[in-house]
Symmetry: C2
Subunit: 356 residues, 2 copies
């Protein structure tokens, strides 16, 4: 068990050692720690070995010049200069927020970036400005669209953060697949089969094998099968891909580069790096912020008080479980799985940063 | 079988008789006919009796003064003055497009409106301006959020239209539930059970009864059950509700007024009418339009050519099936179900507009 500050400092020092500025190293630490605190360890310290390997192979630039390459009063395309995804994403979301402050909303499509961690982090940046925040990203192709055996889409998450008054904010952050990719690993490690509706085999047949991705299989879009609306999940995931990559000039669909260092990058890919899309909408561009937040409290209260089917369940507001975990873990500290602890200790030793 | 022009003229004349301007009557006809042509008869002429009944009961205003009540360069809140939904929606989308022309994007949240037909109609308005169009609406509460037996959400559809060059445009238009409400009726009329994952009974138990809504049951959000990500469908449907109604000051969640005349309106509802949300993004606010459309062709080609699981299926691009039906039906004409034909003939006679 580590304190939050100890791990934060460790990550900062490690990324400073590979050349990041102290500000950038602190941003990377902040996003990874936030994922751990919010109960999403699949996007936390687990990712450090991959990030470092991508840096070592020259695919990530620790000293990027992140620039706006095109803009209007409410939009921008940002080139991340092969930055760590968190650095390009945070800068892009800041630009969206600045534009919203001036003309009501700001929308930024980002290319030449990398894996950015949890989408919710960037959406939540808008909250303190009394804005609605939106963040999405494409990701390596693991998912087959409806009626296909080809893996053309990532788990392409969407996050939306909406401020309230006395209620905590509404924070939705979800993959456009029934489950995140990491869940398959968990089933596999426990020796369990997955429910039907998560994956298909290489012939497109429904299966319950959590290891099917290694055998030519694919994940499915939200909905699971056509009968249950997988084509709607396919629509949603496609919109994330197009907004993130076709608007920005990043790689789309099957061309998104791997977020792990041991897989090769495609030659002749049509764009630059991974793509993201960010939005910020000033609440008072629509109505007085106090008024909006009063009604958001009303909305949240209405849903929170809905009748559950039995005593063991209750209607959750998006963001409730993660916020509760964040509160608990901030006090308690962060427990790393032994395998992860070992991996990041070895990487730390390599760069002369000690993990106690 | 009727020709498109004959039915269009019939609808126009009927709505002129109840007091609509000739322009507004033509808009209403256009949206309803487009739904019929695109194979979505649940949002076509079937709706006319309900629309007329809502007008007769004083809930819809045929001569509305639709106004912007608040705005910034990239946003507006529009008050529909209890207009037919199509009239408020078309005007709102036009405002979004005008704002996008000036500052890159335009975003409009609309209150005091009514059922607006197919969301895709408004999203597609952006295409001829080389813009991406977005349209969404809340709707009467028929859907339970995850872990609830209370019906708090509508089928809350989202439409996104994206232009391409030589390929036809990408047009996604989907309810945030596994199926549209009308599908339940079809199963019921055929005497068939529905697959599990569409509906639950009044205790929240999964059932396969297409008539369960009449027995206190509810529809489920996209994903179907928690295990398959229904909480993600709940997130998405909630975002549609909040953008459409809390941003605009319309009624949200369980307070959305019924879109049929025979159900009473809630007293003490927190907002005004039904809410919608519209967005327009100029492509060249991100990059040269030709460049973007070239890559959209590449995106569409990549997905269209993906390997299907067998010869009987193929990967569809969102909008493909509707466009193909529109092509066929525009030539062939529109076939009305005898029950619908009878109902609208009776209404026509009442207002002295003859359906041959």
């Amino acid at each position: 068990m580590y304190t939050v500050n100890y791990l934060r400092k460790f990550i900062q020092n490690l990324f400073i050692k590979i050349g990041c500025s102290s500000t950038d190293a602190s941003t990377i630490a902040d996003v990874l720690i936030r994922a751990e605190l919010r109960g999403i360890p699949s996007h936390g310290l687990l990712r450090i070995p991959d990030y470092i390997m991508l840096y070592e192979s020259g695919r990530i630039n620790p000293v990027p010049q992140i620039n706006i390459v095109h803009e209007t009063p409410s939009t921008a395309v940002v080139d991340g200069d092969r930055a760590f995804g968190m650095i390009a994403a945070k800068k892009s979301m800041q630009i969206a927020i600045e534009k919203a402050a001036v003309v009501g909303t700001g929308w930024v499509s980002t290319r030449n970036s990398n894996h950015f961690g949890i989408a919710g982090y960037y959406a939540m940046m808008a909250l303190e400005h009394d804005m609605i925040g939106i963040a999405m990203t494409n990701a390596n192709p693991l998912v087959a669209p409806t009626f296909s055996v080809s893996k053309l889409l990532g788990t392409n998450p969407v996050a939306v953060a909406i401020p309230a008054a006395n209620q905590p904010p509404f924070v939705a952050d979800f993959a456009t697949t029934p489950i995140a990719r990491g869940k398959l690993e968990i089933f596999s490690k426990k020796g369990l089969e997955v429910p039907f509706g998560y994956v298909q085999d290489k012939e497109g047949q429904p299966v319950n094998d959590p290891d099917i991705l290694k055998k030519g299989g694919a994940m499915l879009t939200l909905g699971g099968d056509y009968e249950h609306g997988s084509h709607k999940g396919y629509c949603l995931s496609s919109v994330v891909d197009i907004f993130s990559a076709v608007l920005s000039g990043a790689n789309f669909g099957p061309f998104v580069p791997p977020s792990v260092g041991y897989l090769p990058v495609l030659k002749n890919s049509p764009g630059l790096g991974t793509g993201h899309f960010f939005g910020a909408m000033r609440i008072d561009a629509f109505q007085p912020a106090e008024n909006f937040k009063y009604y958001m409290d009303h909305w949240i209260g209405t849903f929170r008080n809905a009748r559950p089917p039995d005593k063991h369940e209750k209607v959750l507001i998006p963001g409730d479980p993660e916020r509760e975990l964040e509160r608990i873990n901030s006090e308690k500290g962060i427990e790393l799985l032994p395998a992860i602890e070992k991996e990041i200790r070895i990487i730390g030793e390599k760069y002369n940063v000690k993990l106690a």
